[in-house]
Symmetry: C2
Subunit: 420 residues, 2 copies
Amino acid sequence: MAITRLGFKSLITVQDALNKIKSSISIRIKDIEELNLLSSLGRVSAEEIKATVDIPPFDRAAMDGYAALSEDIRGASLNNPVILKVTGKIEVGEISQLTLKTGEVMEISTGAKIPEGADVVIPYEEAKRVDGYIEVYKALPKWKNISRKGEDLRKGEIVLTKNQVIRAWNIGVLASLNITKIKVYRKPRIGILSTGSELIELGGKIEPGKIINSTKWMLAALTIENGGEFIDLGTAQDDIDEIENKIKNSIEKVDIVITIGGTSVGRKDYTIKAIKKLGAKIIFHGVSIKPGKPTGVAIYNGKPIVMLSGFPVAALVGFETFVKPIIEIVSGIKFMPLPKIRAKMSRRVASTPGVRDFLRVKVIEKNGEYYAEPLKLTGSGILSTVTKANGIIVIPEEVEGLEENEEVEVLLLRALEESN
Amino acid sequence: MAITRLGFKSLITVQDALNKIKSSISIRIKDIEELNLLSSLGRVSAEEIKATVDIPPFDRAAMDGYAALSEDIRGASLNNPVILKVTGKIEVGEISQLTLKTGEVMEISTGAKIPEGADVVIPYEEAKRVDGYIEVYKALPKWKNISRKGEDLRKGEIVLTKNQVIRAWNIGVLASLNITKIKVYRKPRIGILSTGSELIELGGKIEPGKIINSTKWMLAALTIENGGEFIDLGTAQDDIDEIENKIKNSIEKVDIVITIGGTSVGRKDYTIKAIKKLGAKIIFHGVSIKPGKPTGVAIYNGKPIVMLSGFPVAALVGFETFVKPIIEIVSGIKFMPLPKIRAKMSRRVASTPGVRDFLRVKVIEKNGEYYAEPLKLTGSGILSTVTKANGIIVIPEEVEGLEENEEVEVLLLRALEESN
């Protein structure tokens, strides 16, 4: 008599799973590539950059007007205007060889180097031009309307640290230092291995009882969106040896492996069996998360293997929750949090205590307030709920449900204005 | 006697400027390109897609277990188990030709098509296998643990609307329908024209009094990051005719023009003069925003021209505030809001009433609370403040300042965990 009792003996909490990921995975991409400045956008810097010059490189006018000596206009007032002689004009990009003497001003354009002697710029608005002279009615403090040399960046100052993600404004700063190329770490290579004898490749002929492997393409898109390079490791049949061999033969060329499917604890769950046969170290398997319970993480040859469910929404939740933190460790990328908005629940929703629940909702505006309407279909395979949803509510383990009109934080999946 | 009084006569509010943009700009990209599914990520759909089949295409097992007739187990309980005969096994991807009769079950894998006659799946956990039979202790409702045909998507249902931004999960849904190519609108072409005789090209030789054109590269990076194609329109000297001709000669090949610099109302402000000479319709010029006051928008040949300040931070604020909404109109892209966090002001900050102020801050965590520390340098040219900042606080027009410990919303420029 053979008795079969299957199911996860115990489930780890999401937080404990993340802690285990942090303490177990230490591999870090070290390969470096040198890119043109603009191509480095979004990449992780592999070098520290210091300012080689002061920025601005010289004291320059911050407004259009007249370069002057602040001493000369110290006593200026409406009743007692100071009259100064205009001795020349400095266009931006030009250098004046003259030294300004007391009683003199020079017309100057924003951005132009101020002449020797000058320590203030009187804006056009605060001077009345009378032929070759100006009348000034107001005192201005020393260095007013002048951008000082090195005010923005001082020579030797660090402008980009190693491991910093390069953003648009970093590119601006690096350009201002005339830096044309920058060393970055290569992108993380994320190998995706699909498993399941029921899978047909995208574009293939549909056969009865079979389905298109669509989860792979969603995960490939998430990989690219999150700074990774997608490596297609193909599809293994429901066969422990085939899955094992496919991982063994590809582990060298990727930084992270994602497997899709076969990760529950049924008798058909070949992936988890293959991972064990491979001798990979299981970090955790079975998480109190919904959807995504059978998600697991293992390490083989120092490289993380993330076992995601074949159900698309469970795979999506698994990617957001576990793959992204692993990409951060392996690549040095730091992800921004998803944008959030506050909304009121349009109706009551129950949730399993002890489980972190990912509820798909549609946020709508009604009389200037946001309401989150839970979508009815909540199966882990129901990808259409994510395409109909524009937000996700994460219901924490200690919460048993959400009440009607309760205020909640919704993670936005797409802009609210979007038609869908 | 010549009198010079310069400066903006009046400034438009940001909201009025945005309203004018919405009511004045109607041009929309219509060119279509067909892409491979994965390449369509982040692009704007140019076609409506309907499901050509039901998804799932058949009733299938949602768990591993035994396909059965719900009638048979209606009275099952711990004291009164029902005993059913296992007549076969259906692997995923296989089709059973048998029809299940009363008293019979078939072992079935998750994802496999359920056999004719079956209307419930008994999970392994709820059945005790005794040789060729199972004992069932619990009734299950009809269709329990079965994903119904068409439950996710019904044939004919719209899965992607025209003008929708294609996200990872849309790619998953489209793949499940075996769609390999998708028509999208081409990316908006954003031409960037730099102006200023003081500018040296990136990589060029530095000359006294001149500076590298760094704002262009920051704006190019912002363009790419926001789904646009960067078209370099080169640099015009401080010469009205040259600026006018460069815009005239390039307007046909771009959807949006951004000019950098020369947009104030000083005598050196050649760009605004060139725009006027060109005969472009000025939508607004001069905004109550800080930094970025001289920002303007015009329309020429139906195409928007955005005049941004040459000062990098002012240009950044102008891009975020005005260029992004214009990209949305022209391309159909919808941007997600920047992620926000709530923080307390670490010190008091003053702000000019009537002006929308963009304050750069560094958010730090202290005893589990977030504090926003305003950066001291706040000139519009000071790009280093943005690279040192990790957040921006938008101080609205009606607010005169922020108090110490006041709770504020900070727009995140980068992940807080990032070193910088």
